[in-house]
């Protein structure tokens, strides 16, 4: 079990709760490794994340690549306003739209 990500399985949905506060060059490899075990609907939960840089964005893009190859849907949840701004700047939002915690209620 990763100490960087906690998995929450909900049938065809998996919520990957990122436990590190920094999605950066140090944590990128451990985060990206989780992209091998995506589900048809994969949600990345950023509630604990206070910092994301381009090395972190590169790690997140591995989820985008895998989702595109598999025909899966990828979403982000609990993204801070600052990180929403950064995602918009690099157009990550097109490939990993944001959902609300309440949108998962039907699966829980």
């Amino acid at each position: 079990m990763s100490d960087i990500i906690r998995r929450e399985e909900l049938g065809d949905v998996v919520v990957l709760h990122i436990l590190t506060t920094s999605v950066d060059a140090v944590s990128a490899a451990a985060i990206a490794a989780e992209c091998q075990q995506m589900r048809p609907i994969t949600v990345l939960d950023f509630s604990e994340v206070s910092f994301i840089n381009s090395a972190g964005i590169s790690a997140l893009l591995k989820f985008v690549v895998n989702a595109r190859k598999s025909g899966y849907q990828l979403f982000a949840m609990n993204v801070t306003p600052h990180h929403q701004k950064i995602f918009k700047m690099v157009e990550m939002s097109r490939y990993m739209p944001t959902i609300e915690e309440r949108d998962l209620a039907a699966y829980r």
Binding site: D24, A55, L61, P81, M89, V90, E91
Partner: protein, 142 residues
């Protein structure tokens, strides 16, 4: 003028030390919380660039960071001990299908720097590269 100097080995974990310092210094300089977040990201990108591309990951080489608060300006100079670079690419870089299909998932750092600071300049020679970033305390007029 107030000045803070740091020198770190070219090891990614120490970028976090610079970033934490940037947060404190940005607040001390009177930047808004959102601008402090911009500062942290810009400095992080510059330091990682110095580690990866300037010093090429040579842990024996140092990255120097100087913060100067001068009037309404916060200036940060990030230097490496590499052999210089031809150019840094600051043009807009966004995620698109072509890059994803080609597996090219990097290259956002310099664009983010250029978009997040008020101005910047690069001075590179065979003795290393210095990237200077400036943020102004007074919010820019939109």
């Amino acid at each position: 003028m107030q000045r803070v100097e740091l020198r770190i080995p070219s090891i990614p974990i120490f970028e976090r030390v610079v970033r934490a310092s940037a947060a404190e210094i940005g607040s001390a300089a009177g930047l808004s919380p959102e601008r402090v977040e911009d500062l942290k990201l810009a400095v992080s990108e510059a330091v990682n660039n110095a580690i990866d591309h300037g010093n090429r990951g040579d842990t024996a080489k140092l990255v120097g960071v100087i913060f100067e608060i001068d009037g309404d300006k916060l200036e940060i100079r990030i230097s490496d001990q590499g052999s210089g670079i031809e150019r840094l690419e600051f043009s807009r870089r966004v995620i698109d299908d072509a890059h994803l299909d080609a597996g090219y998932l990097r290259g956002f750092g310099m664009y983010l720097i250029s978009a997040l600071v008020d101005d910047y300049e690069v001075d590179s020679s065979q003795h290393g590269t210095v990237l200077t970033l400036r943020l102004y305390r007074k919010e820019r007029q939109q």
